[in-house]
Every structure is written in structure tokens, then in C-alpha cells.
Symmetry: C2
Subunit: 242 residues, 2 copies
């Protein structure tokens, strides 16, 4: 392969000093910095690195054509997103082929439910791609609760709040320790599933983990309040502990 | 609370530049550095920070009285380990009460199946404790495979190889994406469970992720070879992707 390198750089949960040393160096040294965002917003990944970019760094904002305006199940959703990722890929490929290195800023860990994966799958094998793992949002969330999440042989299950309610309930029942992400507008469904699985009273809600405005509460104590997108529900395991 | 602070510092999977910036600063600035290890060994956590400790830093090696010599199910195992953690706690509490800050080096993320949790549970509420989350070994492992681990609504299940075979099989069947840790001497059982769950051909074995000697192979291609303790099995999810 010739040309530059595409770096998928995990930024972690949101605090600048929770970037890895490797990510910190890549971000500060980058000439081309790409990131996803919703149109009209600064973008969470870009916000995390505020003040860190080198003077003269070129910023490449990749703006989602839709986020929640079209339901996930609508065939247009996949079509529109697919065309969008193709377009992003074309822009990045042109830079890489011209010999430039480009970093893509990724919230959390790039290979863990990340948007970067859609670029990666289209470009791997074709250009040099390096991925830098990072601290996940869920690690920051369980750390924020002040309670260890998994002990001994505990089974950890990670669920998306977008799953159907009966599937959420069934998976919650089987888990020793539990993480639920993509909460937002799914919070009422997640609450019902937790109740049905007998885990509601043990559940914690962490908003903006490791970010300004972090809150940590028992889920049952915040009934009725809206929950932001960056919310994670945690149920801790209780496995073997000497 | 008076006295110093106890820091549980997650070091991540093993590469020095995958420490967080916060962990890097704490490690380099520490006057008292505690870590677990097997007697007679340098200790994995201590090895990760080789060359990083300040001159004159006091090292506190906490040596496990047993590791695998006594089966987990034996009541003596819990008794011996419990006495060991009490002893470690006493040593650390004395320093903290004398006004010193102490960092405990933790492989991976401290609250995710970590030994630090046993100190934390005995000392929290009594002294000031700060926990620094970190990149998990499993993040390094799935990154090393070069294949994203979870897409869309994939359910991720994390299992310990120490679980009974029928439970491993049942949990593997339900998972979209799968991580199995604590492999070592459980590898044959893990292989049988993966076969029974129909996931054997899709499984990868990552040894020493993000460490010198890292290997990444399809599990089926390494049948019969011994697997080190720092091995992780990964099965990738195949969820929604535009």
C-alpha cells in the first residue's frame, strides 16, 4: 500500500486526560482531523479535543444527513446512511492517496458500536488503517458509580436500549452484571424491561460519564425525568469475592 | 476524611502508550506504588510501568499466597485470600493515614474483574479512594483482530472460562458478540462450548493483546497448542450496518 495512513483514534468517554498517551500524541500532531457530527452541532468527538489541535490543522466535519428523523427500520435509513458513508470515504481516500495522514476522532472505543467502523469496513485492505483502542463510555459509567461492576465469574451483558422490550427483558434476566446504552427516548421501555427482569431497584443511571455535568443516581430515584443521549444504565454483579 | 489518597490506577492492556494521560501522570509522579504479583514473578502490572517510576518511589509488592494451587471451590481458597487482602489493606491504610498518597497499579480497568476491587471494598468510606478507568484487555483484543466487534443492536456477552461448560454453552448461544476471558487451562472446555453453541469456526484467539508477543489467530487454527493466561477469545457480532 502507498499513501498516508488513516487513524481511527478512540478518545474515550469524554475527559481529555482519559485519552491514551498514544491518542493524545496523534491528536496534537495531526494535520487532518475528521469527525462525525449532527449538522448544526459542534459534535461530541470534536468537543472532547477542544484546545488540543495543532495550529493549521485541517478539520473535516462529516455531518450525518439523518440521525433520528427516520426510523431505523425504514429502508431509506440504510440507503441514506450508506450513501453518506460512501461520500465520507471518498473524501478521506483522496487525502490518504495524496500521501497525507488523517485521523478520525472517535468517541469511546472505535470498534465498540462506533461510527468509524463504517469507514473502516469500506477502506481496509485498500489503504493503511490503524485503530487506537480507548476507554469505553461504560467503563467511565461504572467507575462513576463507585461500585465495581464484575466479580469472579460474573457474566456481563451489554444491551442497546433500541432492542425490542421482550428481548431486553430476556437478556436482562440472564445477566449477572448489566450495561444498557442508547437510552435516550428508549428509557421507558428500558425501565419496564428492568422491572420485568427483577433488576429495577438495583439499576443506576449515569449521565455524561467523565464529562462536565456527570450525574450518578439510582434509576428508581429519577423516574419521570428526561434522559440525555449520553446515558448509561448499570446493574452491578455480585460474584465471588474473598 | 483526613490523610492521603489511595488511587486505583488502571493501566490498560499492557502497552505503555495505552495508559491514559491521567494514569501516566499518576504513575510517573507517585511516591508509593503498590501492585499485586505472584511470588517470585515480576508481576504483570509492575512490568507494564517499567522505566516510568520516579527515582526513589517506594514499591509495595503484594504477593498472592495462592493463585491456582488451590481450586476456587475449596473453602480454604477464600479464607487464605481474604486474610491476604486484609493484610494488604492494613499496610496501605497505615501509609494513607500517615498522609501519604499511594497508587495501586491495576492491569486493565480496575472495576472490571480486577483484584483492586478487594482492597477498594475494604477501604472505601474510610479513606479517600480515586479510581482511574482504563482500556480493557478485551478492547485491545478485538482491536487486534482488525474486525469491529459490535454493530447496531448487537448483544455483547462477556464470559469467564472458569464457568461450567453447560452454562458457557447456553450463554454463548444467546450472544451476538462474545468475549471469553480467563482462558488458560479452561481452553478445552471453552472450545467444546463454542462448538456446541455453533460459534467455533467464527472464534478468534488473541494472546498478549497490545503486549510484546501479541498473536492473533482463528481459534480453529491453533487447536492443541497451550494458551497463556493472557488470552482472550473473541466472536464478532454482525448487526445492522449501512
Amino acid at each position: 500500500m502507498t499513501g498516508g495512513t488513516l487513524y481511527g483514534v478512540g478518545l474515550g468517554p469524554g475527559a481529555q486526560d482519559l485519552l491514551s498517551v498514544r491518542a493524545d500524541r496523534l491528536v496534537r500532531g495531526a494535520r487532518h482531523v475528521a469527525f462525525f457530527r449532527k449538522a448544526g452541532r459542534p459534535g461530541q468527538a470534536r468537543s472532547i479535543v477542544d484546545g488540543m489541535l495543532a495550529q493549521g490543522a485541517q478539520e473535516i466535519a462529516m455531518e450525518y444527513p439523518v440521525t433520528t428523523e427516520i426510523p431505523l427500520g425504514d429502508p431509506r435509513y440504510n440507503e441514506i446512511l450508506s450513501a453518506f458513508y460512501e461520500d465520507c470515504t471518498t473524501r478521506l481516500r483522496a487525502l490518504i492517496e495524496a500521501g497525507e495522514d488523517v485521523i478520525v476522532l472517535c468517541e469511546g472505543d472505535p470498534f465498540f458500536y462506533g461510527s468509524f467502523m463504517h469507514l473502516y469496513e469500506r477502506l481496509k485492505g485498500e489503504i493503511d488503517v490503524q485503530v487506537v483502542p480507548a476507554i469505553t463510555g461504560m467503563s467511565a459509567a461504572w467507575t462513576a458509580t463507585g461500585v465495581p461492576v464484575t466479580w469472579g465469574d460474573d457474566v456481563l451483558v451489554v444491551l442497546m436500549g433500541t432492542l425490542p422490550e421482550d428481548e431486553l427483558t430476556a437478556r436482562m434476566e440472564e445477566a449477572d452484571a448489566l450495561v444498557v446504552m442508547k437510552i435516550g427516548r428508549n428509557i421507558d421501555k428500558v425501565r419496564r424491561a428492568l422491572r420485568a427482569a427483577g433488576k429495577y431497584d438495583a439499576a443506576w443511571l449515569v449521565e455524561f460519564a467523565a464529562m462536565p455535568g456527570q450525574t450518578v443516581q439510582r434509576l428508581k430515584d429519577v423516574d419521570g425525568k428526561p434522559t440525555p443521549y449520553f446515558s448509561i444504565v448499570i446493574v452491578h454483579g455480585h460474584g465471588r469475592r474473598p
